[in-house]
Symmetry: C2
Subunit: 129 residues, 2 copies
DNA sequence: CAGTATCCTCGGAGATACTG
DNA sequence: CAGTATCTCCGAGGATACTG
């Protein structure tokens, strides 16, 4: 992306940051970890519908960006814990606002979708006259 | 908000809402429209790297969810304007917080990535000994 | 248990050309 | 000018099996 012509000005890196955040899975993992440190298996259970591969990928990406910390206590059987870094907690707080927005407004979104569907239907039947 | 250890139960719809938001393009279109109503071509210019098709798709999806309004004034040549709905403005305000977070913290993210890369490199060379 | 390695599928998204 | 219609391709992500 961002092929030719630097259309957008200074906020390019911020845009990258946004894209990191705008990952569906990151948006679910961070809140999960906000509750406290968690292990791989627990995250798999907690976040329904994510595969082991994608979970690992996303965790690595979050770790790479300094949002979470990975602690591998060298035990047998193995035990690895993930937890939010300071930066991750900060982001998590910002995300909570979005979360609350979603909770508060999804009824409105649903309603809008129904209205839209109804409109579509009536327009289809009108054009058939 | 999914406080107990169960997989997501009640907050499924909110999760859907989050996924709508977690679209890279929606995250760019909404702030663009926050500045004021805009037409197709203007959005294409403003948001670098998006194709006509994807722009239309995203706009439709946002309209369907009641976040933006589409106004087609029946002129020749055609003139269609998009603008935020009340709901869209509300979301846009919530997103601005994220935006600010990204602007404020992307240096930290960058730094973390460099640290990570350095670690990787030193670990690779260590394992080669 | 945490993580990798493979293989494979499906759909997101680009390019291009066309229409009202 | 806004939008559709096709065709195409690439890669994110799922399933499964294996390893330390």
């Amino acid at each position: 992306m961002r092929k030719n012509g630097d259309v957008y000005d200074a906020s390019c890196s911020a845009r990258d940051a946004l894209e990191l955040i705008a990952s569906k899975w990151a948006l679910l993992i961070l809140p999960a970890l906000a509750a406290g440190p968690m292990r791989n298996a627990a995250l798999l259970r907690r976040i329904g519908g994510i595969s082991q591969k994608v979970l690992t990928q996303t965790l690595r990406e979050l770790e790479r960006n300094g949002l979470i910390l990975r602690e591998d206590k060298g035990m047998r059987p193995r035990r690895v814990e993930y937890r939010l870094s300071r930066l991750g907690k900060s982001l998590s707080r910002a995300l909570r606002i979005l979360d609350r927005w979603a909770e508060r407004h999804f009824p409105a979104l649903d309603a809008a979708r129904e209205r839209y569907a109804a409109n579509q239907a009536s327009q289809r039947s009108a054009s058939r006259l």
